[in-house]
Symmetry: C2
Subunit: 435 residues, 2 copies
């Protein structure tokens, strides 16, 4: 059979990775797919520049629309990034009846509902395995591998830069800013690291995971997001002393009254497998009612790891080329008419345990005042760690681990405790999950 002809929008990290993997493993890939895959056209902003992949035999253009419209191109692979232009190009490909593969989590999180609706109407596939957790086949695992389950919750380390920073802070006792600067110089973090460290990138991915796990429309704007820039070296080491690691998790949980969708730093017991996922690696823990806990681990980014997911999607698309569209795996795991409209919960209505760090004046009765206020808000304490007070400064540091409480109650309690005259700085609070 003749190879399937594809066009790639973007020849950067992932685009060139994809060209390289298709070239190197072409025989194996055709042996699996039953047909070869040939890159016939590609777009980049600068087509004169030296690239990390061999583009000979590929028609290059600076206009991605030319690739989309190329009559020879059967499948469009969007690896440009950005949201608006990428969305327009993907819709244009769909309208032309072409299948799409993309690694663009921001675009899927923001415009996925529209894109999938259009693709469904037109009978084409939009595949996005590479959009979440890079090379880990997590979309396929949840959407197909766990299709027999009611997914109860999932929790993932889905931003490698954030995990690298937290790992270095713990292993080497370094400060956040210091490690961030290193991550930037190593090329892990973007020059503008906000998407990574403030949790936006993880929130994009969590919105996608929640959709396919629960069968709900994409709701990026309903994800509660907290980054890691407020985590201090002390918190990391206090957590360690208490037997926990701090990880930046994306968590989605099915509750009776709605779904929790949240991204925030989280204390996890150190013996949990996911607590030991270090450096730039990603992992997603998925709890199904039948299968129990399952975990998927691997590289969440990088040229070839991401290309691995792009190529897996291409193989799926190649297989589907002649298939009845109604029998394909639905974009969001459930058939469009079987999606649920159960609400996403406000963060106030989420229940978790908490780690609290308080800096107080070293006076008798301070601890009693604090525990009384917490008790009045229905918050019970599981463990207290009190540092030797610093007599010179007359200061004390108190660490508390609480039992699970509604976040709204915790917020009120914190406001009340912070109003005490002896509190020196705002309270640090980090959520905890047993997982």
């Amino acid at each position: 059979m003749t190879p399937v002809k594809i066009g790639i929008l973007g020849l950067g990290t992932v685009g060139c990775g994809t060209v390289n993997v298709l070239a190197r493993n072409g025989t194996d890939i055709a042996g699996r797919a039953g047909r070869g895959i040939e890159v016939v056209a590609a777009a980049a902003r600068d087509i004169e520049r030296e690239r990390d992949c061999d583009t000979s035999g590929i028609r290059l253009t600076t206009d991605p629309g030319v690739v989309v419209d190329d009559p020879e191109v059967e499948v469009v692979v969007e690896l440009m990034g950005g949201t608006e232009t990428a969305r327009d190009l993907v819709l244009r490909a769909i309208d032309a009846g072409k299948h799409v593969v993309t690694a663009n989590k921001a675009m899927i999180a923001l415009y996925g509902n529209e894109i999938f609706e259009r693709a469904h109407a037109r009978g084409v596939m939009v595949a996005f395995e590479a959009a979440v957790a890079g090379g880990i086949p997590i979309i396929k695992a949840i959407r197909e591998g766990l299709a027999g389950n009611r997914i109860e919750w999932l929790a993932g380390i889905i931003n490698g830069t954030g995990n690298f920073i937290l790992t270095e802070m713990r292993d080497k006792g370094r400060d956040f800013e210091d490690v961030l600067a290193e991550a930037q110089s190593l090329g892990y973090a973007e020059a503008d690291p906000t998407f990574d460290v403030e949790g936006i990138d993880a929130a994009h991915k969590l919105a996608i995971l929640a959709s396919i796990a629960f069968g709900i429309p994409l709701q990026f704007d309903r994800v509660a997001v907290e980054g890691i820039s407020g985590i201090t070296r002390e918190d990391v080491s206090f957590a360690a002393e208490l037997g926990y690691r701090i990880k930046h998790l994306g968590i989605a949980r099915r509750m009776d009254n709605g779904y929790e969708l949240r991204v925030h730093p989280t204390l996890i017991p150190e013996r949990r497998l996911i607590a030991n996922v270090d450096g730039v690696m990603n992992a997603v823990l998925v709890q199904g009612d039948a299968v129990g806990p399952t975990l998927y681990y691997g590289a969440g980014a990088g040229a070839e790891a991401t290309a691995s997911a792009v190529v897996a999607d291409l193989v799926d698309v190649v297989r589907a080329l002649t298939t009845d569209p109604e029998n394909r795996v639905p974009h969001l795991a459930f058939q469009p008419d079987a999606l649920s409209d159960h609400p996403v919960l406000a963060m106030e209505d989420v229940h978790t345990s908490f780690y609290l760090r308080l800096r107080t004046q070293d006076r008798p009765g301070v601890l009693a005042d604090i525990t009384r206020i917490l008790g009045e808000h229905g918050i019970s304490i599981e463990a207290i760690l009190q540092r030797e007070p610093d007599p010179q400064r007359g200061e004390a540091t108190i660490i508390m681990l609480t039992h699970a409480v509604r976040e709204g109650a915790m917020n009120e309690a914190i406001t009340a405790v912070e109003a005490l005259p002896h509190l020196l700085t705002p309270i640090t609070r980090i959520r905890m999950e047993a997982l």
Copy 2:
């Protein structure tokens, strides 16, 4: 659309688990698959007995052939176990043009080549996700999720009973026989535990994993197998002292001159994620050339965990019911004409590092004799741990970790060392992998 009608052979642990999951999650499953799945017929040896699942509305028979031949049954789900009868029934279903789902690793490992050839010729699917690592979607991950990769190696904890025994030996310093007896009373191990502890069950699964990873025919008879019954409490604790855990691994590796297929106890550095997979849980680490290392973790057995995989296969089959057979995922990952005929290596030709435990008379020069012989066989030593000799008995215990060496050379060296007059017992040798 009308539901797809299925027949189940066997209503034991997995059969009833499957009936229960299909009943409980029927709406979600139909929402994913686009069609419901209805159990219309089932076979068991004793159809009067009380079962762990509701069989009302299911036609029961003691003759599995009746289910296979039932004209209403579109898909046959084989959950009886055993190899000969199961094989005959599966072939009969295939000949009748029916798709098959099975959890039977022994049958696939022994007769898979014949079964898949027949299924391919007849244009039906035989799905076997539940045959390896229970609920973990590892077949799908390797066969589809990593389709862009050249798989370099994989290593798995793929027998829960064996892992439970090794975990208990380490955590509680217990003896092998003692823990085995408990595992049997807990119902983890079979009354005849040979398949679990001697590695046969793991070898069945490894043969399957190797086929889909490398695109080679099933070659169960070429798997080198060693069980865990020879592992002592001392070895587990010496390994711990040196920073290692002992795990019973199935390992498949692509080498220039052929494939390594082996199941044996293995020392792994304790910081590796897979070294921390404990109790009855399973995990498979897969190294792809593009994606790097990925790990898949979950329950390897149990009624509903295994049913989770059976149902996922059913959903795939439902989707494929109207698909052109040529576009389905090939049984062994590669198209039948793209399978490789690269050989499986003899164990003598496998290179690993080794842990050696020697009991010797406490005489000067013994260690020098041993290291000289190892050196003559090209074996260099990475670490030595010498226990305080026992002066009463005049005995010493020596632990050595070696660098990687061809197993044939190690076998010769061990024979030569064991011929030394000062050796008191045969040498214990356990292979090591850095992973």
